[in-house]
Symmetry: C2
Subunit: 382 residues, 2 copies
């Protein structure tokens, strides 16, 4: 294993009805004034907001609210939240929703204690090592945001989809009640599965050194996703499958998979963020389109890893067969696997290549993400 540091202080409260204790959890940290951040008005219609509000009130915690966070969350909403948190002197942010809501909340929490522009954290001009305390109640499993310090936000004008990461942006307590995640459509379930796969495979299929322990660990996550996704597509009310799916999502990006690996990259995430920023398609859909296409490009760099993937995950021989099996599995669960299926015009490829090449250059990653590499992946996705 290569040298590493592991640190993850997030407390997880997992299980049925745990959201009803959110007031208790927040009060344990002596906090009194919360900004509740959420997406659509659905949580008001289904009673979740009311439950949360009651739990807070019961513990003498007051709150303000900010709704309207969208998928592929945008910077303007973060600015709105920062202003509101500052003006109401909130001492904590409570995200009620999925990854977009939580990512926005992390940015708001960091921005609320920062004098400068919150976008500084995304453009690497500052690191969010101070923030209001962050809490969340997850209504969708996919991003793993509930147990990491990452947040991805898009700046509308420039369509830059960037991320922040700092020591203060780990949630203090994350509530994962699988029952709250049961209303997701089959379509979004498939996108979520694709997102978890990408978190796992970006690492598993790029690390130039992958300890055997970590390989087995990641395969166990992936097998859990395959098994539970298939169960849930047949029966969305299966609690055990929903719970394991949620926990696998959390494990896939809580940094446990990083331990001791060398040179892991996040290629499909890098490529996809521009796709969802340009076309506002679901992140998981962009990933299922790009993953097999990227794998065809990557497979010659780590042939043995790809052969192992084929064998362990789909019980087939050869790197190409493994890629094909994954593509078929994506199709089976209803995730798109071509640009066409994602309604992305193939004639846009040159524009995408240009955008991504520029981005790669800005990040100093143009040695790896060459125009040729990017073009190859998009051509593979036709």
């Amino acid at each position: 294993m290569k040298d590493f540091t592991f640190f993850n202080p997030t407390r997880i409260e997992f299980g049925k009805d745990k959201e009803e204790n959110i007031g208790q959890y927040i009060s344990e940290y002596g906090l009194k004034k919360v900004l509740i951040v959420y997406g659509s008005e659905r949580i008001k219609k289904n009673g979740l907001f009311e439950k949360v509000a009651k739990s807070l009130s019961d513990k003498g915690i007051s709150y303000e609210e900010l709704g309207g966070v969208v998928s592929n969350p945008v910077l303007s909403k973060v600015y709105e939240g920062v202003e509101l948190a500052k003006s109401t002197k909130a001492d904590a942010v409570l995200a009620v929703g999925g990854g977009s809501v939580l990512d926005s909340s992390k940015a708001i929490a960091a921005g609320a204690v920062y004098e400068g522009d919150v976008w500084d954290f995304f453009s690497f001009k500052a690191v969010p090592n101070e923030a209001l305390k962050i809490f969340d109640i997850m209504t969708l499993a996919a991003t793993g945001s509930e147990m990491n310090n990452l947040a991805v936000v898009t700046k509308e004008e420039t369509k830059e989809k960037f991320s922040l990461r700092g020591s203060a942006t780990f949630p203090t307590v994350s509530v994962i009640n699988p029952k709250l995640q049961a209303s997701v459509t089959n379509e979004y379930l498939a996108y979520s599965a694709s997102d978890i796969f990408a978190h796992s495979l970006d690492l598993y299929l790029t690390a130039t050194y992958l300890p055997e322990y970590i390989a087995g660990y990641v395969e166990n996550i992936l097998k859990t996703v395959v098994r539970t996704t298939e169960t849930l597509l047949n029966d969305s009310e299966d609690y055990e499958a929903r719970a394991e799916f949620a926990w696998a999502a959390t494990q896939a990006l809580n940094f446990t998979t990083f331990c001791g690996v060398e040179n892991n990259r996040y290629d499909t995430h890098f490529l996809e963020h521009t796709l969802s920023a340009e076309y506002n398609i679901a992140h998981g859909a962009g990933l299922s389109i790009l993953m097999p296409a990227w794998m065809k490009w990557q497979k010659n760099l780590l042939p043995e890893r790809f052969e192992r993937f084929a064998r362990k995950m789909f019980d087939v021989e050869g790197a190409g067969s493994g890629i094909e099996a994954l593509k078929q599995w994506y199709s089976k669960i209803g995730a798109p696997v071509t640009l066409k299926e994602g309604n992305i015009p193939e004639e846009d490829i040159p524009m995408l290549v240009e955008k991504l090449s520029g981005l790669a250059k800005m990040m100093g990653a143009d040695g790896l993400y060459t125009a040729d590499m990017i073009n190859t992946v998009f051509q593979n996705a036709k």
Copy 2:
């Protein structure tokens, strides 16, 4: 998955020469005065103590020292440490050694800020939710103490081997440098493997509900232990195997295996603690003696789990074959599997049954740990 809370704030610094940064790690928390706790004088002879002392001095951290912690660590040494920490106004405890040294250090750290008797934490009269900050440099992988808040100590007069657990007894930073663990004898490596197996199997073979994800997770730990132990017995200098062995040990008892399981028990640990307290044999040796014997008793309660264990771990069919395969593996690596091999007189069985029955009664666990159950296990261990 059943409802659970997961929280583990320990920061891990894993890799080569990381102990040379210990002064840096401690200074990051603003601490100035450390009590170094260790076992034998070996760390003075091999230069480790000097390295640590230099790293502290370089950061302006002063230290006192307390050597002489023994395996199956004793309460009298903890008392000594508590007095020393109090009189020298230490603000942190730094364990340099294995699980016994770290467990003693946790007790010292808690006792140093407590007015009463530190044994109160072990006899459930108080909970260590305040303590000096705890750091460690692990020279032996086995107990998992580096990433949990447990500590096991024996009270000499009564031979009670009890444990404490509180929110303040997680190490703040644990240093795991696999190279420092390479000097362990093959004998102790086998005991360590047995200890990790027991942490895993006590859970895996008792939980009345074990999520499939967790089952696969635990099997991955066990397979790592089997593979790396065999490698290390042939080549004690194999760094990769040493590193994965160390990381597997940490994962086996950092509470990740507990997530979502129901009714897991620690039967062999309960039974073994009296054995090592009575005869002062290595904890891992006591466990390898008792594990197959206990499994024969337990197997009828969860037959399918035992069949799975046999299949997944040793590729054999049937609960009995799995137990036999494990016993043979213990013998192969040099861990004892009978009382005789552990130099424990068989004629002591009635005395052990009486002691353990009394202990079970005191803990209110005599419904489970009946005299009949305890006797059966020890008879199986003949």
